[in-house]
Amino acid sequence: MGSHLLNLMIFSALVSTVFAMLLRDDTRARLRFGLLAFGGFMAAALVVGWAMYPLPL
């Protein structure tokens, strides 16, 4: 559990699953929403991580 990326992936997957179950009603829509949310979490974290790479200046 020492890998930051693995922790990020597990966290994103679990939170996306809960959001998908709460915000969509049928299985297909849940799957689609869950995958989109997971991708969004991962992409946002990686982009922000790279943007902060030079900090502190």
């Binding site: 559990m1 922790n7 966290f11 679990l14 699953t17 809960v18 179950m21």
Partner: protein, 135 residues
Amino acid sequence: MAQSSEVMVRAARPAAAVPACLLAWLLPGAGHLYLRRPVKGLVLMGSILALFVLGLALDARLQPYLGFDDPLAILRSLAQMAIGVPYFIARALGFEAGMVTSVTHEYGNTFTEVGGLLNILVILDAFDTALGRKK
């Protein structure tokens, strides 16, 4: 339209709203199981408990903080308590101190706090389900 309203009224169980919310707080997903949404209840239970247990494995601190010098810490403690019975079991089992020196300590705190916050959404969803506003 008339048919969908009829279906919603039939599905509504207003008397079950309070017990469903209480069960949902005590054990994540139990409110939906009580409202006969087994798949939804089990998935929510599995996901939220997984967040909580992984948070403990990542050395989260569960000790409640109620001092007024750090209001955000109060909110973090309340978020962890929203997990319900598993939170109090974990504290009784000696997980409350966590390990501040651990590399993953803050990850653990985040996992447990977000698990609790998600459970608040689950409680509200159980309330809406009992009133027939949601499937």
